[in-house]
Symmetry: C2
């Protein structure tokens, strides 16, 4: 089904900045266009939990005044931005997608939000998250499921589903998300936008409601890879950021995703097509299983540690599915956590070999297209598949390994978006973005 464009569809941060600085538009005008589009489209998409029209207009006025005075804070200046509702915003309700925090108004901004404001961004609202970010489907939240702009009967993916839907529908040019096992990249891929999860710790997660502290990352969603890079530079702890991607030889290798998950071959083909004619690497034996076990165990233990008091004190406030999964996670024995933590450096050493002769790995972001809302068990070529496991299968390994990973739109299958994922070692981010740029992404 054709995606109806929004005011920011196809408009890059670079173009917006040029127009703003040239006086061809204003932050106020961009903000009104975002607010109008949200009012029109969001009843269908449910990308937003909270829209802060007053706050956005005030921020836009301030941004315009600074521009008028000759001050420009960079590529976020005057740009409408949406923020995942897991990320604290001072004075603006932050629910984490849960009835436990239905009326929670933080006192202070998360570090990444403070950096947005410092960069002159205009925060227009908070986007739908799977409750407590505990799910890659994006369809279990106190404010209802976020929906895929390509087909509102289908998942946006999650947990940063609202951020992905808002960017994909062109309601905003940029959104913040968080990514613990793929929560930026999965919805970005399923909704057909770009999403970047930097190296672990590269953007401070202070002020983000924790899901699993060992794996939690702040990331960005935008129309293309270049905009992800611009936003990343404005948000990173190290302000020197990433070197500019220069055209040239980047040693890209295709990583056969079958070692992680035997996905939809049509999806794999679309991603492979964009990756192009590059050599292929295979996963070392045992790496996929080890990464999956490590991810599952550490995440289960850390998440249930976050919620232990709520699980006993007010279980009825959780979404029923989230409650059931959290309750099961809380039973994970500690000895498995010890094993998982011990495995992590071993797995990292094993994975390092993947980069022996290559700078960047390419593989699909998600091995299937967006499933219908609520679907948990599906079939692929007659095989039963677990939807949640499928969604996470190709993204969570890079959270365990702390590696930067970027997803870009690669095409469609049955009219539904497919993402191509690039992965590199920390310090090689410029090569990651160069690989995307070389493929027109």
């Amino acid at each position: 089904m054709p995606l109806s464009p929004g005011p920011f569809t196809g408009r890059t941060l670079t173009e917006l900045a040029r127009d703003l600085r040239a006086g061809l538009t204003s932050a106020a005008e961009l903000t009104e266009r975002a607010l109008d589009a949200i009012a029109e489209r969001d009843p269908e998409l449910n990308a937003f939990v909270t829209v802060d029209a007053d706050g956005a207009r005030a921020a836009a006025r301030a941004a315009d005044a600074e521009l008028a005075a000759g001050t420009w804070h960079g590529p976020l200046h005057g740009v409408p931005v949406a923020v995942k509702d897991l990320i604290m915003t001072a004075g603006l309700r932050t629910t984490a997608g849960s009835r436990h925090f239905a009326e929670h108004v933080p006192d202070s901004d998360a570090t990444c939000v403070a950096r947005l404001r410092r960069g002159g961004a205009v925060i227009v609202g908070k986007t739908t998250t799977h409750e407590f970010a505990y799910g890659p489907t994006g369809d279990r939240s106190a404010n209802g499921p976020s929906r895929n702009p390509h087909d509102p009967a289908r998942m946006s993916g999650g947990s940063s589903g609202g951020s992905a839907a808002a960017v994909a529908a062109g309601l905003v040019p940029l959104a913040l998300g968080t990514d613990t096992g793929g929560s930026v990249r999965i919805p970005a891929a399923l909704c057909g936008v770009a999403g970047f999860k930097p190296a672990y710790g590269a953007i401070s997660a202070a002020g983000v409601f924790p899901l699993s502290l060992s794996f939690d990352h702040v990331g960005v969603l935008a129309g293309d890879a270049r905009d992800c890079l611009l936003a990343y530079r404005a948000l990173a702890d190290d302000p020197s950021g990433v070197a500019d991607p220069v055209p040239g030889d980047v040693r890209v290798a295709w990583l056969d995703p079958a070692g992680f998950f035997a996905g939809d071959p049509r999806v794999v083909d679309v991603a492979r097509q964009l990756a192009g004619d590059v050599p292929e690497v295979r996963l070392p034996d045992g790496l996929a299983d080890g990464l999956r076990e490590t991810y599952t165990v550490i995440q289960s233990c850390e998440t249930s540690a976050v919620h232990a008091e709520r699980l006993t004190g007010a279980p009825e406030l959780f979404d029923a599915e989230v409650l059931e999964r959290l309750s099961a996670a809380a039973l994970t024995p500690g000895w498995r956590l010890v094993r998982a933590m011990n495995a992590r450096p071993v797995l990292a050493a094993l994975a390092d070999a993947l980069f022996d002769r290559h700078d960047v790995l390419a593989l699909p972001t998600v091995p299937i297209t967006a499933p219908p809302l609520g679907l948990r068990e599906s079939e692929l070529d007659g095989r039963p598949i677990a939807v949640r496991a499928a969604l996470l299968s190709l993204t969570s390994p890079w959270n365990v390994l702390k590696l930067p990973a970027l997803t870009v739109p690669a095409g469609t299958v049955d009219g539904l978006p497919v993402g191509l994922q690039f992965v590199c070692r920390p310090g090689d981010e410029h090569l990651l973005f160069a690989a995307a740029a070389a493929r027109g992404a």
Copy 2:
């Protein structure tokens, strides 16, 4: 009951070295005296699992040949030493007190054993450990309980019970132990000898069968504190060791043990008496409970991670009580481990305040005297007490906090030994030993 002396009762490493170097005795003679005494006394004490007469005689001959050639490797040269059977010895059976390793002969030495040999020590045998070091009572081992030389119907304490009994009976002047929650200091105190657990990591634990890697320490047991220091210097990773304890003002404070455990007041009085007229500090609120929970949870998870395959594959080979406790430990949920690990730096910061105005803390090592073998529940002033919890209560906090801790004999209650424990911050070990020396220990 009066303790019958052995060949090394009251003989210090300093005296032995003087006599060896002066030709007044030989390593061969000392070794024979140790072997004879073991043959005579050990049937009653069960301090040894394995006696290596041939190996000891060969080592003694080599040590004597070196002395004759003018080479002296330091205070361990030619000295009979016993090694806890949890510590790997190349070519010499190492059972870890378990039927799982009844005939296990390691290929290589633990690092601490290699250092013993480098120092010219004569390893006479392996000492009884509670099975897998998993118990402070010392009375559950595949080779039977080690017994207290002061009353063989009573516990040696554990898990390094054989090492403590061997030194207390004067069978050897020095023994190696390991200390995860008090396993050097508890048996040292109950048997009336000195024992030192250095700072975490100060003596490599490589080649020690793990109990709980976050807390495992290698330590030493000897007749007095000075001998512990000499042995520690020979074994420490940093060969510069510890500065010599110079007489002078050491700021010692008495730490009221009641915050950890309300023990036998007569035991507390004996320890307090040796500590002398020093100021008193109190535990910060919440510290004792936090340390106990952290110790219990981390130790349970780490220990059950070590034994998971044995628990499912060959449970019948464990001692019944050890099996029951390990099985319970394996059920500790991972989220509690996450909380415990997060608590550790918080507790360390809280405990640091104890040293604001003092260099060394003094408290009893164990708040009770040696209980009868097999006793698990007891009474103190009409209150029920759990024996294991009582034994560990004053030692395990310093494992969680990674602090050096020394126990010295302080006197007796009903003829049973009482230990006084000194605790310091890493780097202040010379003050710890100075505090002991100032009290004649």
